[in-house]
Every structure is written in structure tokens, then in C-alpha cells.
């Protein structure tokens, strides 16, 4: 789960990480009030779940009330990489002496925590990483040992920050590491981490991705649920406990298992079609789960055909087939169904499907055949 900047800063503050503060507003009137409260010059920042807002015009300075109103008017409702701005964060502009970059994430290859710190923050850090990899001081931390103050001090010295920033940065990074570990972050990132002209070190931005698997020990995360950007289909699927991601094609996909669902997208593309979604119904494939899945796909107006790709393991083929037939009775489908059923007792399952075969229900023996049929029924391949 990705947090918005203001949520990320509030999360940082729980771990005593110094952050710039301000007010969140969802309309121009409140944004101006927040600017008046913060004082001028103020900065008005779009709150979106995507990077690159600065370049897109989503961050503006305001010297007075009139400019604050203009900035909020321009930013609220604007679209940044397809994300419509619903809220702005208004802060007093910070007098910046130096801009750095800092983050913690998991290095999956090394199976260790990875800290990255650079004296060249505030700009596109990915470009820095490409052009001058040495400008980023990396530190692997053993998750069992954790980050000691001594290790952190040596790391910060290695990064070549301004001398007056070192002590504050060490403290901030130790707190940021705690936020990463105890706060169950997949990623905690500060860009820029700034040294103010007054000599303070603080986080001017916050990018936090939380590990959804750790939600059971973080009841406080519930407040973020409402601000996750999901389209209607995704919201409905989540309510029904399904793993769904909306895409923009015309072939609806239902598969059991994430790997098989990904593989299904691949074969639909290979057959010249475009998937409308990713939907993993999990290991089993009961009538109830199938009906839920069909209901979610049915709400997608772009769907012209639905490809059901199920591999029967312990859930046998005849159970899966009966589930599909039963689910079709429960949901009035707008599109025909193409079913590929394989695995344990596939023959028995296919025999059941054959008895119900119609122009609304077609059964195919292989993934590729089923994909071709579904693409055909969806109106052919891409131009």
C-alpha cells in the first residue's frame, strides 16, 4: 500500500523523524486557509500516488494569498500521469541549504536490508544512479543485527554530506530505519532530505510503501484504506476478497493462481487480444468464488468475452465445471464464456461443460486454443 506524502510524513512522525509540516486541503478555500496558517512563502503540493509531480506542475510556490489561491486552483483536479489530484499539502516553504536522498528497502538478491544515501538528492535519483553510481552510498544491513549507531555514522561519513548535516542525518536515518522495520515498510524514501539554512535536518518529502502482509499487526493502517486509488471494479473485487487488477482490453480473465493468471494474460496477448483485467481466484474454484469473479468482470463494459482458465489440482475438474455452470445461473452475463479446464479429472469436468455448451459457454482443451477463441469472440485481434 502506497501512502500519500502527507500520510507518509504523519507515519514518519510516529517514529520521531523530523518532517516539514503543513495542512491538507481538498478544496481551494481550505488550501488558502492552510497557506495563511503556514505563512509565506508557502508551497502547494499535489498529493498523488505517483512520482514526477514536480515536473508535471504539481508543486508551486506562493508568495501571498492571491498566489496561494491560484496555485491551489491550478493543482486541484489536474491530472498527473493519469492520477487526478484530489488533495494538496500546503507548507511554509523551507530555506534549503543542501538537498540529499535517503531510503531503506529490501535487497531481494542479497536478502538484506539496503540503505541508500546520496549527497545529490532533490533531483532524479534514478538518473544519478545511472550516471554516477558512486554518488550513492549503499549500506547493507543484516536484518538480525539491525542498524547500529556506529554503522550509521560510518555510512553517513562515507556519503560526503556537509559537515553540519552529519549529526542530524545520523539521527534521522536511525529513526527512518526503525520506521522501515517496526513500521513494516517495503520502502521508506526521503527525497529530498534537507539541511536548512538554519542548520536543521528534516524530511521535505516522504514516500512510504507499506507491506500489506503486515496489516494484521498495524490496526492504525485502516485510516489509509479510503485514500487508495482503486477503480470501481477494483473496489468491488476487494470487497469480495479477490485479487483483481483492472486493465483496458476486451477479454476478461479469470484464473486460479497468480502465476497462471499472469500466464493467461500472456497467451491472450499472443493470440492477438488484449486482457481486460488480471483476476486470481486462488487455489480452489468453488461456485461461490466463481460467481463473485464473474460478477466483478460483468461490471466492466469493455469486456466482450471472458476467458476462464482453471487448473484443477485438489479441486477436481467436475467440481470446477459444476461451479462454473452454477455460477452462470447466478449471474446474468453480458459476454460469452470460454473455459479451459485442465488438471485432475479434466475429462469429467469437460464432459459436464459439454452438456451445457452453447453460444454463451464454450469449452476448449488447451490454453492457447481457449485464448484464440476468446479473442475471436471479443471481436478479433488488435489492429
Amino acid at each position: 500500500m502506497d501512502l500519500l506524502e502527507h500520510q507518509g510524513k504523519a507515519y514518519f512522525a510516529r517514529f520521531a523523524i523530523p518532517v516539514s509540516t503543513g495542512g491538507v486541503a481538498t478544496n481551494v478555500t481550505d488550501a488558502v486557509a492552510a497557506a495563511e496558517q503556514a505563512g509565506y512563502p508557502a508551497v502547494v503540493k499535489a498529493q498523488v500516488h505517483v512520482g514526477g509531480r514536480g515536473k508535471a506542475g504539481g508543486v508551486r510556490l506562493a508568495a501571498d494569498r492571491v498566489e496561494a489561491e491560484a496555485a491551489a486552483t491550478a493543482i486541484l483536479g489536474m491530472s498527473i500521469k493519469g492520477h487526478v489530484v484530489q488533495a494538496v499539502l500546503v507548507e511554509r516553504a523551507t530555506d534549503i541549504a543542501e538537498e540529499y536522498y535517503a531510503s531503506f528497502t529490501l535487497d531481494r538478491a542479497a536478502k538484506l536490508h539496503l540503505g541508500m544515501l546520496s549527497a545529490e538528492g532533490g533531483i532524479d535519483i534514478e538518473q544519478v544512479a545511472l550516471d554516477t553510481p558512486d554518488a550513492i552510498a549503499r549500506l547493507h544491513v543484516d536484518p538480525v543485527d539491525g542498524l547500529s549507531r556506529e554503522l550509521c555514522q560510518a555510512w553517513v561519513r562515507r556519503a560526503g554530506l556537509a559537515p553540519q548535516a552529519v549529526a542530524g542525518t545520523v539521527d534521522l536515518l536511525l529513526a527512518l530505519y526503525r520506521c522501515f522495520v517496526e513500521g513494516d515498510g517495503d520502502l521508506v524514501e526521503v527525497n529530498p532530505l534537507v539541511l536548512t539554512t538554519g542548520g536543521r535536518v528534516l524530511a521535505l518529502d516522504a514516500k512510504v510503501t507499506l507491506d500489506d502482509n503486515a496489516a494484521f499487526r498495524h490496526p492504525e493502517w485502516q485510516e489509509y484504506e479510503g485514500t487508495q486509488e482503486l477503480d470501481e471494479r477494483e473496489r468491488l473485487a476487494r470487497q469480495k476478497g479477490l485479487q483483481y487488477i483492472g486493465l483496458d482490453g476486451s477479454v476478461g480473465i479469470i484464473a486460479n493462481g497468480a502465476g497462471l493468471a499472469m500466464s493467461t494474460l500472456d497467451v491472450v496477448n499472443q493470440a492477438g487480444g488484449r486482457p481486460a483485467n488480471f483476476l486470481d481466484i486462488g487455489g480452489g474454484a468453488s461456485a461461490a468464488v466463481m460467481a463473485n469473479a464473474l460478477e466483478v468482470i460483468n461490471t466492466d463494459e469493455n469486456v466482450r468475452a471472458i476467458f476462464v482458465n482453471v487448473f484443477g489440482g485438489i479441486t477436481r475438474g467436475e467440481e470446477v465445471a459444476n461451479g462454473i455452470v452454477e455460477a452462470m445461473g447466478r449471474v446474468e452475463l453480458a459476454s460469452p464464456l470460454v473455459v479451459r479446464l485442465d488438471g485432475t479429472n479434466a475429462a469429467e469436468g469437460r464432459a459436464i461443460l459439454a452438456r451445457h455448451e452453447s453460444d454463451r459457454l464454450v469449452s476448449r482443451a488447451t490454453m492457447l486454443d481457449a485464448a484464440r477463441t476468446a479473442v475471436e469472440l471479443a471481436g478479433g485481434g488488435k489492429e
Binding site: 538478491a109 538480525v144 507491506d211 502482509n213 497468480a258 499472469m262 494474460l265 499472443q270 486482457p275
Partner: protein
């Protein structure tokens, strides 16, 4: 031979008294696996259809000689359950549970490496391991697996593992051992661990590797294949057309940078000399040709 498990492997099921543990534990026993014990501190002294339940893994091991455990404990309890199994002397710990926090996995992995170097962790979030006709630990449907070799399977994805087993069964090709390593960010056992074991296994003559987008495990496997493997490898990588940067259900399947895309993985595997299929069915065909030419 086969790798990691065979007909002598004695298994303790942690969470045998829960619905999942009971269902799969009994299925595993019906398959012929030596499921000799279960654990539940509140139900020690009872039994599940004749399988004795002990308070701890250590007690179960002392009484039964179990050397492998299978974990069906809910995610919040997995960290403690794996430590208990390692302290109880288990050589293999298979964690089926999904939804384990990445921070727990990272700590567990490094803790085992340091304090229990003789213990192999498989998973979390994996379907388990099956040496057909001899031992099945986990949730794989035994009936889709044909035994006898000469193919070893290692896979990051559950249903695609079953698909691979089934494709080979349909082609009349036997499997030595099929290992589902799981798709989580920090799997206890890696592709490379399995490739090395298959390379050393006299019964295995070829290996099927099934990967998916996210992380760099397939790229690392490709390096290993290039440098160390003499046996042929057929691979399939799911997610060629997955939208970049979006989660696909497996915590591990997050595309990052140029590494991690299906294309980068396929290119790396091809460059290492592996044959890479466009879909699981083709992987079965490619493997049939490889086995036919052995």
C-alpha cells in the same frame, strides 16, 4: 536419489489440528508420505486420525525421529513456528502459509543462515515439494505427478508448478522431484539451491524452471546455469505482458528497473543456454524433445 525428500523422510505437521493442516497433512499421509506427528501446545497427547500430536517440534522429533516439518500456521505465527522447528532440529522446514510479512522473512532467512546452517527453509508461500510416489509435503495434488524421472522441476508459482507437472504427465515424462520455492521476496530456498541439487542428483537428467516477473532470481539462476550446469534446462517465465510496476498477487512479483521484467529474464536465460518457452504447454513440448534426445 531425488532431492531434499524421499520415502525415508519423516514429517511433522505444525498446525495439524487446524483445518488446512489436517486436510493436507492427511492427504500427504494418504499419498504415502511418512507423516509421523503434529504439533499444537494445547492439544498435546491427542491424535489426528492416528497421527500423534505433541506440544512442540522438539518433542515430536524426539518421539518419532521426524527430520522435516510442514508449517500450516497462520501468518502471524510463522516466525515463531519456523524458529521452533529449527531449534527442534529439523533439516527441512516447508512453509505453505501465505501472507508472511517481508520483514519477518528477511529476519528468518538470516537467522537460519547464521544459527542453523543445517536447516533448509522452503517457502513461505509455496506449494511444497513432491518426489512422486515417494514423498509429498504440502498442497500439490499427488495425482498429477508422474514419478521416476528424469526431469526435475523448480518453480516460483503454485498453479504453474501443477501445470508443469501435468504437462509432463500427459507427455509420459516422469519427475524426480518438483520443488515450489514460492514467490515471496525472501524465499528460504532459491532457484540456485535447487539447480545445484538437481545437477548433483544422478536420477535427474534435465530441469524445468518456471519463473515469473519481479526480483532478479531468474537472472541469478541464468548466471548459475551458464557457469555450473551441464544438464539441459527448459524455462518458462510468466508475466511477459503484465503491466509494469503493478502488483500481481504475489508479494514478490513487483517489477523493478530493467531487471525483473519478463523480457530481461527470458533474455538472460536464453543467453545462458536454456530453452525458453512462450507458454506452459510449449514448455512441456520443449522438455519432451529434450528428454527424447537424451
Amino acid at each position: 536419489m531425488a532431492i531434499f525428500v524421499d520415502e525415508t523422510t519423516k514429517v511433522v505437521v505444525q498446525g495439524l489440528t487446524g483445518s488446512q493442516g489436517r486436510f493436507y497433512g492427511l492427504r500427504n499421509r494418504d499419498y504415502g508420505t511418512k507423516v509421523v506427528a503434529g504439533t499444537n501446545p494445547r492439544k498435546a497427547g491427542t491424535d489426528v486420525e492416528g497421527i500423534p500430536v505433541f506440544a512442540t517440534v522438539a518433542e515430536a522429533a524426539a518421539a518419532t525421529g521426524a527430520t522435516a516439518s510442514c508449517v500450516f500456521i497462520p501468518a502471524p505465527g510463522v516466525f515463531g513456528a519456523v524458529l521452533e522447528a529449527a531449534e527442534g532440529g529439523m533439516e527441512l522446514i516447508v512453509v505453505i502459509t501465505e501472507g508472511v510479512p517481508a520483514q519477518d522473512e528477511a529476519r528468518l532467512y538470516n537467522l537460519l543462515v547464521r544459527d542453523f546452517p543445517g536447516t533448509r527453509l522452503l517457502g513461505p508461500n509455496c506449494p511444497g515439494i513432491i518426489t512422486p510416489d515417494r514423498c509429498n509435503i504440502g498442497i500439490t495434488a499427488g495425482e498429477i505427478a508422474l514419478g521416476g524421472g528424469p526431469v526435475g522441476i523448480v518453480s516460483r508459482s503454485g498453479t504453474l508448478t501443477y501445470q508443469a507437472l501435468y504437462e509432463l504427465q500427459q507427455a509420459g515424462i516422469g519427475v524426480t522431484t518438483c520443488v515450489g520455492i514460492g514467490g515471496d521476496p525472501v524465499p528460504g530456498t532459491s532457484f540456485i539451491d535447487c539447480l545445484a541439487a538437481f545437477e548433483a542428483d544422478s536420477e535427474t537428467a534435465a530441469v524445468m524452471l518456471i519463473g515469473e516477473i519481479g526480483g532478479s532470481a531468474e537472472e541469478e539462476a541464468a548466471d548459475y546455469i551458464k557457469e555450473m550446469m551441464s544438464k539441459p534446462v527448459v524455462a518458462y517465465v510468466a508475466g511477459l505482458t503484465a503491466p509494469p510496476g503493478r502488483r500481481m498477487g504475489h508479494a514478490g512479483a513487483i517489477v523493478s528497473g530493467s531487471k525483473g521484467t519478463a523480457k530481461a529474464k527470458i533474455d538472460a536465460l536464453r543467453a545462458a543456454g536454456a530453452q525458453v518457452a512462450a507458454n506452459p504447454t510449449e514448455a512441456g513440448f520443449l522438455m519432451a524433445a529434450v528428454v527424447g534426445g537424451l
